[in-house]
Symmetry: C2
């Protein structure tokens, strides 16, 4: 992120599967406190109050509130730690795409240093063609990336590659989050 | 989509884990042929020719080419069938967010009628609190949605709920894809 001097008070959307943890509220508080030490204001999705006057179904109200929070944010920090499978949480990844589409600066971290390829069941390289496939017979990307190339490359293209931390793939570790707050300004 | 009369020649980005199938090229051809019968032009990511003069790494060239294809497209149709886990392919979901962020009409289908909740390992409801959690102790969304609420609600908000087809979760079935092409215009 930009230096605190130029960026003071910037609003940061705190995206991640953090919201699904039993201690989600505490983790959100910890992230918001850390933002404050950098002169930033963290916006945590669970702080949203979906419009109770709305006749919309609850899930659509939550969606609308999250989108509004992302519109309000100046940037986003994404927890891309694998969630219920080899890849990041799809809700988080949706939001990454959305904020890039909105033209906002994005930052991401994963609490594992492993590559996506290493996490796909039965991934093996054909010695003749050199191509990698999984146990499902489908292609495995061979880029040493943290996740699908659209994720890694989108972050690299926006000036900050995914921060990969060897932290046992625990969703709630925040060293990588702090490294994102410490990132240099976008190019 | 709008009626062919008003929408003739519209370019449709064909997003999905289709690209990872051994017969990806044939599936892309089948989708493009189907688009033609609706007066639409399908844009399939594997038809991209990443810029060979670029000094960028291959994954970043593929990313840039896909983003350019989405910018060129008038709308997107997303294959949201579960891929290597209970949820849709994260590359596809990233693109869904990106195209919504770009303000483009989006359509999606899944080749299973099951809910996300039914696909999460050990999902169970606490009889006291009523809350659902998975075997991992983390919250399971309780909306009967096809996937994470950001996916279902984003499509519903853009005027077309996910088309859910009972097709054995096979990535390569295209009834749901055709149903998307038959959708009424966005509200």
């Amino acid at each position: 992120m930009s230096s605190p001097a130029t960026n003071r008070g910037a609003k940061i959307y705190l995206a991640g599967p953090d919201v699904f943890l039993p201690h989600a509220a505490e983790l959100g508080q910890a992230k918001k406190r850390l933002c404050m030490t950098y002169g930033l204001l963290g916006l945590f999705p669970l702080d949203n109050l979906p419009d109770v006057r709305s006749a919309e179904p609850v899930d659509r109200r939550i969606y609308a509130a999250n989108v509004e929070m992302m519109r309000e944010a100046d940037a986003g920090v994404f927890n891309l730690t694998p969630f219920r499978g080899p890849s990041a949480d799809v809700g988080t990844v949706f939001e990454l795409g959305l904020m890039i589409g909105m033209g906002k600066p994005v930052f991401g971290y994963s609490n594992t240093a492993s590559s996506l390829r290493a996490r796909i069941a039965g991934a093996a390289r054909d010695s003749t063609t050199g191509a990698w496939t999984g146990a499902d017979g489908m292609t495995v990307e061979d880029f040493e990336n943290a996740d699908n190339l659209m994720i890694d490359a989108s972050l690299a293209a926006s000036g900050h590659s995914i921060v990969r931390v060897d932290a046992g793939a625990r969703i709630d570790r925040i060293e990588g989050f702090e490294a994102c707050l410490n990132s240099p300004p976008p190019i």
